[in-house]
């Protein structure tokens, strides 16, 4: 009797004895590695700022979703993958993931401006970019679609036993889509080598996680599918890389999928046309001041003895790359009218 009463007073469920990944630590980067992280994050930041500028000038149209603020996630995670072996798939906020995989900024920017030289010949646009050579599979405009597609890419890795892992990114908004759970179920049932990355930037367009999610601790969302989840500081590139190492150990070890919830923040609106009235200016400013992922790496580099002056050439190099990509994207010709009819089908019937 006393026992039962004690139990009901404590409603916490018993702790499962299921095997779990370890709580990952921060990655111990060498100075060179950290400099490279810095370089890549800065490239994404400057590239996105430039894209925003070109949008304002009318050179980029339609939807354009910027990655500013979230740079540590793509850079930290993808730095641990093997390009050409592991596959990556994401939603429409895809520029950063492409740059982090070493895809040429010129062809990305030219796609944003809708030019023939764009990575999709100007026919995809911001949300629909791919590089099969890098095993970067897009760039998908339907919220959550990339999660099932990513499970399919992981299925391919397993089917061909090629040792690859799929990294499938989606946001806190997509985390409420039904097909995500259909994919979780199959991925876990079939022990597919996939890392589900929830980039929780805290707003699904204008709706905060708390207003849309009954369980707002998104890393727990795999529990009923026996997919373990880890919650990670997505504003810390070394924490991101550390998480990737642990996730890879789990997935490559044949234990099936894992979820990484990356707590991050986007500084800009959902897309260029979003005035972001759903959050205060102070909230954004406070994130910028206290949690900026690039500033954080800068401080770490400083602690390693890298001076501001040593970073200067990197900053200049990045500005040059970005400004060249903008020039390229502005001056590259539009697609030939005949391109309208190409690539609808592969074969002729």
């Amino acid at each position: 009797m006393a026992k039962a009463a004690a139990r009901s007073a404590n409603s916490e469920p018993p702790i499962s004895n299921r095997e779990r990944p370890e709580q990952p630590g921060r990655y111990e980067a060498s100075k060179e590695e950290l400099l490279e992280f810095y370089r890549q994050m800065l490239l994404i930041r400057r590239f996105e700022e430039k894209a925003g500028q070109l949008y304002g000038l009318g050179l980029i149209g339609g939807f354009c979703h910027l990655y500013i603020g979230q740079e540590a996630v793509a850079v930290g995670l993808q730095s641990g993958l093997e390009i050409g072996k592991d596959s990556v798939i994401t939603g429409y906020r895809d520029h950063g993931h492409m740059l982090a995989y070493g895809i040429d900024p010129n062809v990305i920017m030219a796609e944003l401006t809708g030019r023939q030289a764009g990575i999709s010949k100007g026919k995809g646009g911001s949300m629909h970019m791919f590089s099969t050579e890098h095993r970067f599979y897009g760039g998908h405009g339907i919220v959550g679609a990339q999660v099932s597609l990513g499970a399919g890419l992981a299925f391919k890795h397993k089917y061909e036993d090629d040792g690859g892992v799929c990294l499938a990114y989606f946001g806190d908004g997509a985390a409420n889509q039904g097909q995500v759970y259909e994919a979780f179920n199959m991925a876990s049932l079939w022990k597919l080598p996939i890392i589900f990355v929830i980039e929780n930037n805290q707003y699904a367009m204008g709706t905060s996680v708390n207003r849309s999610s009954a369980e707002d601790q998104l890393y727990k969302r795999g529990e009923s599918f026996r997919i373990p989840g880890l919650q990670i500081d997505g504003m810390d590139v070394l924490a991101c890389r550390g998480a990737l190492e642990e996730a890879l150990k789990w997935v490559r070890g044949g234990k099936g999928p894992i979820i990484l919830e990356m707590k991050t923040y986007r500084y800009r609106g959902h897309s260029m046309s979003d005035p972001a009235k759903y959050r205060s200016r102070d909230e954004v400013q406070s994130m910028r001041d206290n949690s900026d992922p690039i500033e954080r790496v800068k401080r770490e580099l400083e602690a390693m003895g890298v001076s501001e002056a040593e970073l200067k050439p990197i900053d200049q190099e990045i500005r040059k790359i970005v400004s060249e990509s903008a020039d390229f994207a502005e001056n590259a010709p539009e697609p030939e009218p005949g391109e309208l009819y190409t690539d609808v089908l592969v074969e002729t019937y």
């Binding site: 599979y137 999660v147 399919g152 890419l153 992981a154 097909q179 994919a183």
Partner: protein
């Protein structure tokens, strides 16, 4: 009064079956729920269960008997207080009386029936006059030999079901990247037995049972195709593929274009489409026009077994995403299939099923049977109709249609589907745009009624296309009425 046990219809289209095994013998007492016998259909082995209590008085059909017609008395049960040994066999000619409920009810066995759509109907009147029954009967019609098949080729009678399976098996043998996934495709051997035997031959790496999760597994298949595999995704019926249509259209069909030709998606989405028998509105719809409207997709809807095989092989080999629309009522129908090592048909080519000079009747899938039946009836009236089977709905073989129109100057389109925004509408638009000068009469369409398909047998019959309606339309365009 002794009770007659009759051969039950275990599916809406079953006409006969094999009495595989008796599990009782004469003199045994049986009660409701006892399993009396095992009956084999072309799709499955089913257990046959007693409904009434009594004693097995006489077994009329021995086990192992093939071709036992539905409604045949297979045994007699003596009721309570009745002398089993005194029970007489029924007089001949008494069999298969419509409306006489079978004394026993079939029960789904552990392996076998078409779980979702084809609910066994042992207690309904056999051979109820339904629209689907008429379609099924019409699907007996065969077309003129396809000129694609070389002269002198040996032909083998094959069901559409087997032809589809053979096509998949041959392609799986030839290419390790090809695999099949879907609900009940592996251990159950296919909800409609189309994947029968594939698990045994290819194992569970390549024949994969999925959970009931159409959106999810359509996405998994599409992703695998993007990654370089060649998936065949089976939908138990295309009605359920509406849950997955986002991946079929947004992910599979548009990828090649959106990537500037960089990322292909060679996948086949297949399964039964169109009306089945008495399954009501949610399970009876033709999605041909839906998918045929989407650039980036190939849409195939064959009629006979040879086309099913040759086009399925072509679909699996295609670098493009293919929607392959089968028809449940056709699965059990047998047709000549050429015995060739590698019989592949071209996608996008219509087939002249019956040459004629007075009028062109265009159709596809099960509608072709209706068109051929109508053409036969019209021949009796002195009208020589040409019947064209489109076979591929996208890309549509306009040339064959227009060439025929040039010859006959009159056209009727037959479609087992709704009239609005249909393939028939499309054919009519093509005739207006590109064949106007060849028209001696307006093109008419004969389609299902513009209503959700009703369940009641008489209403279903009113709703679905049939040959008399085609004959009537032809009479109009030939100004004979």
């Amino acid at each position: 009064m002794a009770i007659e046990l009759k051969m039950p219809a275990l599916s809406p289209t079953m006409e006969e079956g094999t009495l595989a095994k008796w599990l009782v013998k004469e003199g045994d007492a049986v009660k409701s729920g006892d399993i009396l016998a095992e009956i084999e259909t072309d799709k499955a082995t089913m257990e046959f269960e007693a409904v009434d209590e009594g004693t097995i008085a006489k077994i009329m059909v021995a086990e192992g008997t093939d071709g036992v017609k539905v409604g045949t008395v297979i045994a007699m049960i003596a009721g309570e207080g009745e002398d089993a040994s005194a029970v007489e066999a029924p007089a001949k000619g008494d069999e298969a009386r419509a409306g006489d409920a079978a004394a026993a009810q079939p029960k789904a066995g552990t392996k076998g029936d078409d779980e979702k759509p084809s609910t066994p109907e042992g207690t309904t009147p056999q051979h109820a006059e339904t629209g689907a029954r008429k379609l099924f009967d019409a699907a007996e019609q065969t077309g003129k030999r396809d000129p694609e098949i070389p002269e002198g080729t040996e032909m083998v009678k094959t069901t559409v079901r087997e032809a589809l399976r053979d096509a998949m098996a041959e392609e799986m043998r030839a290419d390790d990247r090809v695999f099949v996934m879907g609900e009940e495709v592996a251990e159950y051997q296919g909800a409609y037995k189309v994947t029968q035997g594939l698990l045994d031959e290819f194992g569970d790496r390549r024949v994969i049972d999925t959970p009931i999760t159409e959106y999810g597994f359509a996405g998994v298949g599409t992703g695998a195709a993007m990654g370089g595999l060649r998936p065949i995704v089976e939908f138990m019926t295309f009605n359920f593929a509406m849950q997955a249509i986002d991946h079929i259209i947004n992910s599979a069909a548009k990828t090649n274009y959106m990537s500037g030709g960089q990322m292909r998606c060679p996948i086949v989405f297949r399964g039964p489409n169109g009306a089945a028998s008495r399954v009501g509105a949610q399970h009876s719809q033709n999605y041909g026009p839906w998918y045929a409207s989407v650039p980036g997709l190939i849409v195939i809807a064959p009629y006979d077994a040879a086309d099913a095989k040759g086009l399925m092989k072509a679909a699996i080999r295609s670098e493009d995403p293919v929607v392959f629309l089968e028809n449940e009522l056709m699965y059990g129908r047998s047709f000549d299939v050429p015995k060739l090592d590698d019989f592949v048909l071209p996608i996008g080519k219509a087939r002249i099923m019956r040459p004629g000079k007075d009028v062109t009747i265009v159709s596809y899938s099960i509608g072709v049977g209706v068109a051929l039946e109508a053409a036969e009836a019209l021949a009796g009236e002195g009208v020589d109709a040409e019947v064209i089977d489109l076979r591929t709905l996208r890309p549509l073989d306009k040339a064959t249609v227009l060439e025929s129109l040039k010859k006959t100057n009159r056209m009727v389109v037959v479609e087992e589907g709704w009239p609005t925004c249909s393939i028939a509408s499309e054919i009519i638009a093509i005739a207006m745009e590109e064949g106007f000068d060849d028209l001696d009469a307006p093109v008419l369409r004969v389609t299902n009624e513009d209503v959700p398909l009703p369940y009641a047998a008489n209403l279903e019959k009113l709703a679905l296309v049939d040959a008399p309606r085609v004959v009537e339309a032809v009479q109009k365009v030939t100004y004979r009425v």
